[in-house]
Amino acid sequence: MKRFIRWQGFIGFFSIIILLMAFIFLFADSLVKAGIEKSGEWYLGAEVNVEDIELNFSPLSLTVIGFQATDPEKPSHNMVSFTEATAGIELWQYLLGKIHISDLTIAQLELGNKRQSEGAVYFTSDSKGNDETTDTTMGLPSLDTSLPSVDDLLKDSNLETVKQAQLLQGTYKSEQEKLVAIQDSLPSKEKLAGYKKQVMALTNIKVKSLDDIEKVTKDFNELKKQFVADKKIVNSAKAQLQKSKDVLTAQIQRLKNAPQADWQSIEKKYSLQKIDAADLAHILFGEQAREYLGYAELAYEKLSPMLTGASATPKVDNTRDKGKFIYFSEQLPQPSVLIKNAYISVALAQGELVIEGKDLTHQHWINEQQSVVNVHSSNLQGKGEFALDMMFSLNEQQVIKINSNWQLDNLSVADVAIQKSSAFSLSLDSGLVSGKGKFELLAQQIKSVNDISINKADFAGKASSSLTKMFLDTITSTDNLALTISATGIVTSPELSISSPLDNQLKGAVQKLVSKKLASFKDQVNTGLNEKLASALGNSKSDGKALVNLENLINGADGSLTDLLNADITKGHKKQLEDKLKKKLGNLFGG
């Protein structure tokens, strides 16, 4: 046995173990401190300081004292800091490869507080915050500047009235050319008079016998052939005239309708209809609401990858630089990371917030429990009370589900800029804000309804145009303002809807102002358009006279030719022969 075993090896082994434990006991604090600082600096790119570390082994707990993480974008300030954080770690779960924290307490968590000395920055992120101020009155209907000049409008060659007038002239010209060509082929007055003379001559011929009548009839029939040919030309001229009249009538009707179409187009182009229906509460308070919603979006964007990105596939978790844990079935399945209870006190400039968490994890499908977060404060801006109850969970497909309710009472606010632009500025100088709301998030779809009321409101601002002055007057005369803000759609770009009873009040006042101004504008534009119409129709009247003359000419020729065709020239001749025959027979029978 002694050949294979060296008994002093036992002593050696236990000596090594004891030395190792002693090393851990003596240097663990420093190692953990260095670990937190270095890994924090590597992640953040800026100096991270830990004042002290306390590591207790029974029960295992870690206390971090005086933590400060420099904001790489603003090294004179911390991104986050806290005075003390304690985490009670379950040793057995830790040895099995899981991090279960029974109690996590963070005291005096502060965001963006000033550092005693500027922190070192190792690298900064390329992404820059979009803090450029935008002209928030872009959506505000500035009626004074939005209405175009009437003269400029009427000079616009794209006006339908101008176009239709030009079309009418063109149409008349082309129709006139067709009619002139026909007019030239019409039988002239002289020709018709000649026909009449010829017919008269045939009528006045003295007939002595039936042969003479037959000859007259034959001559008349020859003449009639010319009448029929001319009649054909006249009928064709009549048809063309009717066609031209129809075309011109339709064109004139289009011209008459053009001013109305022009007005509708002007209304649309200059959004004159929208002035009446403007979503005024949204225009006024939308930017402010979006700003607050932006914080929620930012929080979601920062937290979401931490929750969902940690485990890409089911059962696989805790990705490390070198490998990962693979979990199999358990009798009592537990998530790989679990904070059973958390208590965080946040010191904000506005007051103190307390955040309490329960069963915080990113693997809710394993223990089938939702994480619960309660946030509350009773000293926001003095006497403001705030409470938020939130439950969230992730399923195996990494879909986040959040249900939350919040309530705010008597939050005193002062100097809140609502609109900032050269043309219009509005601020809430003082007021008490109360409200309640809820939001739900499922598969990145947000659904939130929030009712906010501002009591004892004291608004102030500056306005340059008549419309914005009216806005300002209406709002500054308001003591209590209620707003309902809804957000729906994708969480990163939700659709915001804001409504308020103030809407109707403002709309009424706007309509008064707008309708008066619009009515005058409409009159001026329509007068100009009607003048254009009258001018175009006046031209068409003179052209119309020519048409009437041509119609008279055609109708006259038509009537003459019809008469000539219907002329019964043999009737007189037949009478002559009858009379002659009667006379002869009377002489014969003693008359």
Partner: protein, 173 residues
């Protein structure tokens, strides 16, 4: 570095059997490839200290394979992940997972299992190969090398004196 070389020569030239040195190298490979403070490494360390294996060779093997583990880490991860996520082995690992010892040893971690498996795979041939080479060294190479003038000069050097000092202290058998 100098000390490590001394240990190598000491082990090769010591009275330790070739089995003791080869076993030390094999166990050193397993420990070297895995993260140091892991349950199976503590067990191996216990074995190395209690069983009469050559500690110098063990320490040397650990040092060399610790360095090599950085190069071999993609292979180690591949082995560990393919084993732990293999559907055909799911039943085996699932039943092993029910044992606290399995979880305590972190064998459900892809790198640790991969390193253990690769270490074991390399340890077996390493045992026989190293044993063969040490035997050859002792019979042929040592006497062959000793004939060279440079070796004679080396034996007169500070390095050799250090070696002799350490050998004289013993305790590394």
């Amino acid at each position: 570095m100098l000390t490590l070389l001394v240990k190598l020569f000491q082990a090769l030239n010591s009275e330790s059997s070739t089995r003791q040195i080869s076993l030390a190298i094999s166990l050193g490979i397993i420990v070297g490839l895995s993260p140091i403070l892991i349950l199976h490494n503590l067990i191996i360390l216990f074995m190395v200290l209690v069983i009469r294996v050559n500690l110098g060779a063990f320490i040397l093997a650990v040092g060399v394979f610790k360095g090599l583990s950085y190069l071999l880490s993609p292979l180690i991860l591949l082995i560990g992940e393919s084993l732990l996520t293999s559907t055909s082995l799911y039943g085996l690992f699932d039943s092993l997972y029910q044992m606290s010892l399995f979880k305590l040893a972190h064998w459900h971690h892809t790198y640790i299992l991969g390193a253990l498996i690769l270490g074991v795979i390399l340890a077996l041939p390493a045992y026989f190969i190293s044993r063969y080479l040490i035997e050859k060294y002792r019979i042929h190479i040592k006497s062959f090398i000793d004939q060279f003038g440079i070796v004679k000069a080396l034996k007169a050097s500070k390095f050799y004196r250090l070696y002799l000092t350490m050998s004289g202290q013993g305790g590394m058998s």
